[in-house]
Point group: none
Chain length 218, copies 4
Amino acid sequence: MGAVKNKRMPRAVREQQMLDAAVRTFGQRGYRAASMDEIAELAGVSKPLVYLYLNSKEDLFTACIRREAQALTAAVRAGVRPELPADRQLWEGLRAFFTHTAGHPDGWSVLHLQARTHGEPFAAEVFAMREELVRFVTQLIVVAAREAHRDPSLPAREVAGLAEALVGAAESMAAWANATPGVSARQAAATLMNFAWAGLGTLMQGRPWTPPRAAAEV
Amino acid sequence: MGAVKNKRMPRAVREQQMLDAAVRTFGQRGYRAASMDEIAELAGVSKPLVYLYLNSKEDLFTACIRREAQALTAAVRAGVRPELPADRQLWEGLRAFFTHTAGHPDGWSVLHLQARTHGEPFAAEVFAMREELVRFVTQLIVVAAREAHRDPSLPAREVAGLAEALVGAAESMAAWANATPGVSARQAAATLMNFAWAGLGTLMQGRPWTPPRAAAEV
Amino acid sequence: MGAVKNKRMPRAVREQQMLDAAVRTFGQRGYRAASMDEIAELAGVSKPLVYLYLNSKEDLFTACIRREAQALTAAVRAGVRPELPADRQLWEGLRAFFTHTAGHPDGWSVLHLQARTHGEPFAAEVFAMREELVRFVTQLIVVAAREAHRDPSLPAREVAGLAEALVGAAESMAAWANATPGVSARQAAATLMNFAWAGLGTLMQGRPWTPPRAAAEV
Amino acid sequence: MGAVKNKRMPRAVREQQMLDAAVRTFGQRGYRAASMDEIAELAGVSKPLVYLYLNSKEDLFTACIRREAQALTAAVRAGVRPELPADRQLWEGLRAFFTHTAGHPDGWSVLHLQARTHGEPFAAEVFAMREELVRFVTQLIVVAAREAHRDPSLPAREVAGLAEALVGAAESMAAWANATPGVSARQAAATLMNFAWAGLGTLMQGRPWTPPRAAAEV
DNA sequence: AATGAATGAGCTTTCATTCAT
DNA sequence: CATGAATGAAAGCTCATTCAT
């Protein structure tokens, strides 16, 4: 396969190879269906070495989640220039997000699907990363309100809900964009940006959609 | 023992008991971690009977997905009165959606998490249901544009993306609302509705957010 | 090997077969060296069935210890007629003990060697049985002293030590008799009885051996 | 770090460190449960060095047994002054025995428990040592009979059995004394000496306990 | 309609042992 | 003299699945 059967490599390098193989296997097969045998073989090493370096299947999975989560948040951070106005920051953040998830589909599968599906310890790991993204978006909404010379009349919970919705929509679209041929990261970002920014703008101008009286319903 | 050891029940009833047990087990443990032993015990029958009626673990899981998917779409359909204007229909649909997912957390876990995480055959099953929801939302957007006396100048793909984003946001918020104490189905629906409708309105008035020239970026 | 490949047997019977095989394997190979595969094969069943009935290797080993311990104490109890004088009781107890250990060498190996060598939980199980034997002997010593019209001037700890020494000698001789061809259970019992009873008699006549002054030594 | 990382030490010293570590590990964990990894780490060297010096796990275990066996017999020999009368010699031997086993519990565990439990090759090693002790005791009995101006009317096999019983009792009491707080080596020796010497004396005066006729029994 | 008895196949994990330096 | 890197082989355990009744 191109790579010659490498022997005797320093530990740090081998570990990365193992994580690469593990992310790919976990991402495609799922946590339980992925076997340590398959991961070891894909990494080009024997199983005992995987255990020697990464300890257990759980630890290996956790290491994958951490590495991919950091890679993703780092990519988003690196893509945003904080001196720009809020809308540009959001735009750049979305672009970086969709670009990264498109470029690392297995990593994204690990974070978005596998980690959330196999127990608290793993889900918590992803939750921490997600929180960081939600915080970033929340802050942008607040800044945007200020820039629009509006006092932040939106209540905190409302803002939290919006940020949650936006991040959720982004996550969902990442999977959609990955699965739909012909949808580029840029297009996905544009669609979502459009949707989100317009909605936020309208909200901040104080013209929200009002739900009908509860009494009118069951 | 409370429940008398039920013997000799008609097949249809037994099957539902098994599906109940399976949805609960799959939803909480995950597809792979759930064992047929546990499901059979929870259903109060012997394992061979589960195989006699449901054939295999895969078939059982598929049956769960189908039942829960139909229950969800039926709930949404039932919650919407098609004679109302588009915004009211969307509102009611969201309410029904969040109400149902809140009331059936294990079923929602099966659909949203487990089914997507364990291979194509299952994911496809959910995909079909999701398509129905996306179609419903897409149609509402088109109707709304018409009601606003606007020709549907939005290109089809754009509309598809918006619907996708909206459904994705809803799915994501369902999980969030389930996990966040104090967030009712109604509140979740209101937050998302607000967000979405405002954005759509602005878009349809022809004032979209414009991404900066690509040249300005890396 | 004589026994036809038995199929479909009631659980209780199968469990005894498994315990038979386990005692033999543990007794000959040792706890760690004995593999569940080997035990299952010797029992004529598949490994999963062993786990289904006996739970784990630890539990299986514990079950072996318990069964063999009870068999041994039961044999000793059954061999002793409590209406006889103390010396006759001791004699019969020893005879029963050596006869049983000679007839169940693997069980004796499990109790005497394996169980004590592989961790507290197992050792404790044997300790309980041993305590029963020590109590039996202790009581005989006391009764013997009374029968000899001697007040039990022997201090309690001293008696405990003697009983301990006697039981220890018996245990040790059981292994020796098993390993030395030509030494019957009867002979082993006679040798030990001779040794023990004479010593006890002398002691109870108040003529113990007196250790030299500590000062005379290092 | 306290102990400086020792580098470049003469082979003999390193070997002793390894044996120390091995005896401790084997004694506490058991032969099979002790891992070469743990031993190497406890010895402060790398695993390959252990193999370079001691060859294999089996060889290492054998080396442990030999060293501890010699240490024990040497201690007993050193504790006995052969110019004294037989009873004093026995007393001193027992004292030395109990003192040594109390001072080297891991070594004693290796000899008394582990070595006998893990296959012939190891058991044979211990058997040799035991033989030496039995010979020593046998000889003392003979000498004692002569000192008592008695011809050794005891048949050889009877004497062998007695020696066996005495050594067995001693071994058993060593474990008991180690495990029972408050029982000193001296006390253990006194108890056993008392028991043994009295019994031997009575026997040699030709007043043995006589088993009932076999006919009276089953 | 229903079940107690049974298993083939696979998984994670560990360990004694050896190269190459 | 000494070790970091690496593995073949096996062990304990679980699970989906079936047979005989």
